[in-house]
Symmetry: C2
Subunit: 113 residues, 2 copies
Amino acid sequence: MNLENTQVQMRKGILEFCILGIIARGEIYSSDILEELTSAKIMVVDGTLYPLLTRLKNAGLVEYRWVESDSGPPRKYFTITETGKTFLEQLQLTWDELVSSTQQIIQKSKLTA
Amino acid sequence: MNLENTQVQMRKGILEFCILGIIARGEIYSSDILEELTSAKIMVVDGTLYPLLTRLKNAGLVEYRWVESDSGPPRKYFTITETGKTFLEQLQLTWDELVSSTQQIIQKSKLTA
DNA sequence: CCAAGTACCTTGTATAACAAAGTACCTTTT
DNA sequence: AAAAGGTACTTTGTTATACAAGGTACTTGG
């Protein structure tokens, strides 16, 4: 049990939430999703992202269409479905509760300056 | 991929953080830890808690001593170590960053009333 | 035609939580 | 003191996810 591993574990499980959230903002393809996640300091490799997107698609939470690219192979552009929106809302509730729970448990003695 | 499973996945990885946080507040034993978690709406079964406590102990983050009980078998009372305190502080930082990241990604359009 | 770059996909491994069953100890009841 | 019940702790098998690493396929440029 080292810190890095625990940090990885912490991140697990919110990826689905974050990625669904990103797609909910508008049509987007994998590389740009990766960029969004990276800029939010949530590191993911493509070998993680692609299977996750496939899962979301198979669950009917997102859809995609092929779009030709000016510089390279075609891309899968994803959009969220109505089912996906409902799902995301519930994930948001779960997440908020979880954040609230940890705040309840972890009593912060320091005030933010 | 159903909601319940995703919710379970979300909770994974923060258990260690929460449990270490609970122990950091003072000496406590398993059943009372379970109660604390339950009251914070973080459901865990004992089959999950005990191995986790063993992991924390083997990592030197917590210690325990046996304490006789008035009504039943002896209990393992846990306390946090100095190493554990340092570890917890870093987990807190990671968690805060994660919460901040999700807020950055998930744009809440609704104002809290 | 071949090299390089981009996009997507697959396989094997590690970790953690859960369900369910089990062991051991202590108290109460008979 | 033997049986029954409750509490505390433990173990085993299953499932799910992320990662590392490697692979396939398409496009462009030399």
